[in-house]
């Protein structure tokens, strides 16, 4: 009998049951993929580093005339517990050519090494460890390779010194040490035979050979102090800093995590609401069942059985959909990282079981009302006459609104519980999209310049060849600036050219030694940059440090620090603090008055160009295209392009935002359709009455659509108010882990965030509600005779 009743109910209320089933599917899918993603992101980086065979500390060294001073230091060090070494050959983008053109464009130094002799693990796109490489083939590891158009099997040449070898591209690999968007030094992996051939070249031996040391230590700070003054160190970096360099990837991961949590909350809120709403619709049946003598627990059991059936079917479908959905969410960040959750199947099943249990709990909770419903409810259509408060908030006689608008507004305010939940769900969906949009905008805006410690200029020219020449001592930095300036003048684009130079110097503070990247530029003033505390360095013995670094060193403004420069120890006064996401905050700034030997320069992002005639954006864009041809280099950008290139995730974030927008739209369409359908079935008699007394179809459809329209407009207002607090609550902490501890100045695009997206969401809700409201046409005035 019960089985027949359930089957009959499932058939009779097909649409409502299908919509409920869809929400169960969505809940199971969001919960399973969300929890899996949380676990993946939570464990992700540690798991990846463990699998890759990362160490505690890494040093990249140059060999001077075949001598390796770092190895000697490590052999005698008490702080280095053990170490591994990979021999490398330093290269740049100019060494690799395909059909006469650069193979890839990147501005950092790249390294060629043998895969066979390395204990470090590189992973392919399937997250499998690659152990061997055939002679004549080359894998390229790092984010840059993933972004290139290279296809497996493509042929290209490596030209360095007297070496001119042809290689076949074997694929892209993931590199835990240098593969993040922020570090992104590509590593080229070749066979041992090919590596030896290159390494034995005299020019390479002289200028390009070096080593990567993977060092295990129990006392990192002691080891850092010990190696701070080592010669020929190109880069020294600890494991925590490498982890921080995945900041951009983790930023996206954290956002996905927040989105996942949000989706779980939305889906459970929707479920609770839907179950409550559908049970409230059943008062007549419940009243009749009570009237014929069924007991409360029997009736409750009947509904629980029905929702259990729907929950099991929905959770089953949701489980299978969670796998591709979860992969889709995590895909944007798993390009550069090995992100896999070993327990994903078990977790998925557990989550689906939880969803079923939660649905049963909601059903149990909602069916509690059964006790309160009496047979009278069946007779009096659920209206017991026991309510003595005034329900109607607005008064028709005192309004100037048209009757349809009045009815829509009055309905919203007369059913606050229902419409506030609908409004809250619409608001959550909107605020997700807004927050992601603002974050993506900020990451590609000029405001990032402050966090990168750079000044604004017309053009950013990332010329790794000239910079590498300066670092290796082959050329003087001023010569390269003058050369670029002359070429610009010859091409009728006279401009001022400058460069922010990086110097990796050892700093002694409170008795501890640190390696710090100092930025110095004699063409700008220290006052051109933003500081969070103190006053910009004015004299040659004044410096500024990031807040992160000052805290790490335990120094405050006014303290004196000793910096080792060219074999000399000099005293500097800390006058200001700033925030930077460069080198994960391991940055200082020297005053332009201080004269630093250029041969100590260890890096630079690129040359900055300011045209003398202050051209407009459009002219700058045209000139950039001309400059690309002149310099045969594609790494020439305007501000926005440069920021995009440096942060490297704004495109990814935009994809995530579009994906979230799509999911949000699906959720709100389902909500609007479900709720409008429920309203129609609940208000059948009212619709028939309205038609009988002369309301036209379009007036009724307008009233029904209007209610959702009001709801979504309120949701947009709510979302707009919540946008900034939620950015501060969720996005600020993510940036602060990277060094921007003082909060972020967000870049709002008012039209995009507060007009376009709200309009898309409002239009989607209105159209969905309107299309569902067309169903009211099937109810005729004469139905007043047929409705019970």
């Amino acid at each position: 009998m019960y089985r027949r009743m359930i089957l009959k109910d499932l058939k009779r209320k097909k649409t409502l049951n299908i919509i409920l089933l869809l929400f169960v599917v969505l809940s199971a899918m969001f919960t399973a993929s969300g929890v899996n993603n949380i676990m993946t992101v939570e464990k992700g980086l540690d798991h990846y580093f463990e699998e890759a065979g990362m160490a505690d500390y890494y040093i990249l060294s140059h060999k001077s005339n075949g001598k390796d001073s770092v190895q000697e230091l490590l052999q005698n060090s008490e702080n280095a517990k053990s170490y591994r070494k990979d021999e490398v050959i330093y290269t740049s983008e100019d060494n690799f050519k395909q059909n006469g053109k650069k193979l890839m464009e990147y501005y950092n130094v790249s390294m060629v090494q043998s895969l066979s002799n390395s204990d470090f693990h590189f992973f392919d796109s399937e997250n499998k460890i690659v152990k061997e490489v055939d002679s004549g083939k080359m894998y390229i590891a790092g984010a840059i390779a993933g972004k290139s158009d290279l296809q497996i099997g493509d042929k290209f040449t490596l030209k360095i010194g007297e070496i001119n070898m042809e290689f076949e591209f074997a694929g892209v690999l993931k590199d835990a040490l240098f593969g993040s968007e922020m570090i992104n030094n590509p590593r080229m992996l070749v066979s041992d035979e090919d590596f030896r051939k290159i390494a034995n070249d005299e020019y390479v031996k002289q200028y390009n050979s070096g080593s990567i040391y993977y060092i295990e230590t129990d006392d990192l700070s002691a080891l850092q102090s010990e190696t701070a003054e080592a010669e020929d160190v190109y880069l020294a970096i600890d494991n925590e800093t490498v982890k921080l360099n995945y900041f951009m990837n983790m930023l996206v991961a954290m956002i996905i995590l927040i989105v996942s949590i949000g989706l779980i909350i939305v889906s459970f809120a929707v479920l609770r609401f839907t179950i409550g709403f559908t049970i409230a619709e059943e008062f007549r049946e419940i009243g009749v069942m009570k009237a014929i003598g069924l007991q409360n627990h029997s009736i409750r059991l009947l509904y629980l059985a029905k929702y259990f059936c729907i929950a099991v079917v929905g959770a089953f479908i949701g489980y299978f959909l969670n796998i591709p959905f979860g992969k889709m969410l995590i895909a944007s960040i798993s390009k550069n990282m090995v992100l896999e959750n070993q327990n994903s199947a078990v977790l998925g099943i557990l989550c689906c079981i939880v969803v079923v249990l939660v649905i049963l709990f909601f059903s149990w909770n909602c069916t509690g009302k059964i006790k309160k419903l009496s047979p009278i409810d069946a007779v009096r259509s659920g209206q017991t006459g026991k309510r003595f408060h005034k329900k109607s908030i607005l008064q028709l006689g005192k309004t100037k609104l048209k009757s349809t608008a009045f009815l829509a507004i009055n309905d919203v305010f007369s059913q606050p519980k229902q419409f506030s939940i609908i409004t809250a769900i619409f608001a959550i969906c909107t605020v997700f999209v807004m927050v992601l949009s603002v974050t993506a905008n900020t990451l590609s805006s000029e405001k990032m310049l402050k966090l990168l410690g750079l000044t604004k200029s017309d053009v950013y020219f990332v010329d790794s060849k000239r910079i590498t020449d300066v670092i290796s001592g082959a050329r003087n930095v001023n010569e390269t600036k003058q050369e670029i300036s002359d070429i610009l003048a010859e091409n009728h684009m006279p401009a001022f050219v400058y460069i922010e130079e990086w110097y990796n110097l050892s700093v002694t503070a409170n008795g501890e030694k640190y390696k710090v990247n100092f930025v110095w530029c004699d063409d700008t003033e220290t006052t051109d940059y933003t500081y969070t505390k103190g006053v910009a360095p004015k004299y040659e013995n004044e410096i500024a440090l990031t807040e992160v670094l000052a805290e790490k060193m335990g120094v405050e403004i006014g303290d004196t620090l000793i910096i080792g420069i060219d074999g000399e120890n000099k005293e500097f006064i800390l006058t200001a603090l700033f925030q930077s996401i460069m080198q994960t905050g391991n940055v200082g700034r020297l005053c332009q008055e201080f004269e630093i030997p250029n041969q100590l320069m260890t890096g630079a992002i690129g040359y900055q160009i300011n045209f003398n005639d202050n051209p407009e954006e459009k002219i700058i864009s045209e000139r950039i295209e001309t400059l690309k041809d002149i310099f045969q280099n594609k790494n020439i950008y305007n501000v926005r392009g440069f920021i995009n290139n440096v942060t490297g995730v704004s495109d990814t974030l935009e994809s995530v935002r579009n994906f979230v927008l799509l999911i949000s739209l699906i959720v709100i369409i389902l909500i609007a359709v479900l709720m409008e359908h429920s309203f129609i079935s609940n208000e059948k008699s009212e619709i028939a009455l309205m038609k009988a007394i002369g309301f036209r179809n379009h007036a009724i459809m307008t009233q029904h659509t209007g209610r959702f329209f009001i709801s979504v407009i309120l949701a947009q207002l709510l979302a707009s108010c919540l946008c900034v607090p939620l950015l501060i609550l969720f996005i600020d902490p993510i940036f602060s882990t990277m060094g921007a501890t003082g909060g972020i100045e967000y870049q709002f695009n008012v039209v995009e965030q507060f007009v376009i997206y709200p309009l898309i969401i409002t239009a989607t809700v209105a159209i969905s509600a309107f299309l569902t409201a067309i169903h009211t046409r099937t109810i005729t005035a004469s139905d007043t005779a047929n409705i019970e």
């Binding site: 006689g397 005192k398 309004t399 009815l407 009055n410 007369s414 005035a781 007043t784 005779a785």
Partner: protein
């Protein structure tokens, strides 16, 4: 006397499970201005269908219905809605009301919607209150529809049907859901309205209700089997008795 409603050869057919069901068969009758006509007949005879079809709420299959001289069978749904809003009033057995509106707002809703009087909402509200006062329910104006008795609610429905000063009121079992006292009160009000010149068509099972009409149509299987004019000078008990007698003759 002007004819308000004229029905010619009205047919209404439903097709259920590919089977033709002729609910109304060539129905002919007319209602004059100020008349109160009752429609009686056994269950399923087509009484309510007749009321809904002649009032433009349901579509006719064949025939013609003229309301105040206008051919309703030629009207589009939009025009029919306007006629129902401005020239007709409706009272149903179930006291349908908009649940989110107060009793007064339910009453004045058709007037606010209508462009007929071009009054301010305040004036409409005032008219609504006056109507409520006339029907003795002024004290429930601000109440929710769940806070009043069935009789009060049906009188509110009468007020709503009156708010646009319709040319004719259609009532489908107006006392069907009421107890005897409420039923008599409601019929008293409808009789008063008719006495003031409002034309009415009432579908009912109740001889007491029908006996208040001037003319009663007896319908069986979609056909008007007979028409009985009640002596308007007789008292209520005699009218009821004579109607009962006629109905027995018709096979009631």
């Amino acid at each position: 006397m002007n004819t308000v409603l004229e029905v010619k050869d009205l047919c209404k057919t439903y097709i259920v499970n590919k089977r033709q069901n002729n609910v109304l068969r060539n129905v002919n009758f007319s209602v004059n201005e100020g008349e109160m006509i009752g429609v009686m007949g056994p269950s399923g005879s087509g009484k309510s269908t007749l009321l809904y079809t002649v009032s433009g709420m349901d579509k006719m299959t064949a025939g013609e219905v003229f309301f105040c001289g206008k051919n309703m069978s030629a009207m589009r749904e939009k025009e029919l809605a306007t006629v129902r809003l401005e020239d007709m009033g409706f009272i149903f057995q179930q006291m349908y009301m908009m649940k989110n509106l107060s009793v007064l707002d339910n009453i004045i809703l058709p007037a606010v919607k209508s462009a007929k009087h071009r009054e301010s909402n305040q004036k409409i509200e005032q008219r609504g209150r006056e109507l409520m006062k006339r029907l003795g329910i002024a004290e429930i104006a601000g109440n929710d529809i769940n806070e009043v008795s069935g009789g009060q609610l049906q009188r509110a429905c009468i007020c709503r049907s009156m708010i646009n000063n319709p040319k004719m009121i259609f009532a489908d079992e107006p006392t069907g859901s009421l107890n005897r006292t409420s039923s008599e009160e409601v019929m008293e009000e409808l009789t008063k309205l008719n006495a003031n010149g409002t034309t009415m068509m009432i579908v009912t099972h109740d001889v007491k209700v029908a006996s208040r009409c001037g003319k009663v149509l007896f319908i069986v299987d979609g056909n008007i089997k007979g028409e009985y004019a009640i002596d308007s000078s007789a008292n209520l008990r005699d009218r009821e008795r004579s109607l009962n007698h006629w109905l027995m003759e018709m096979g009631w």
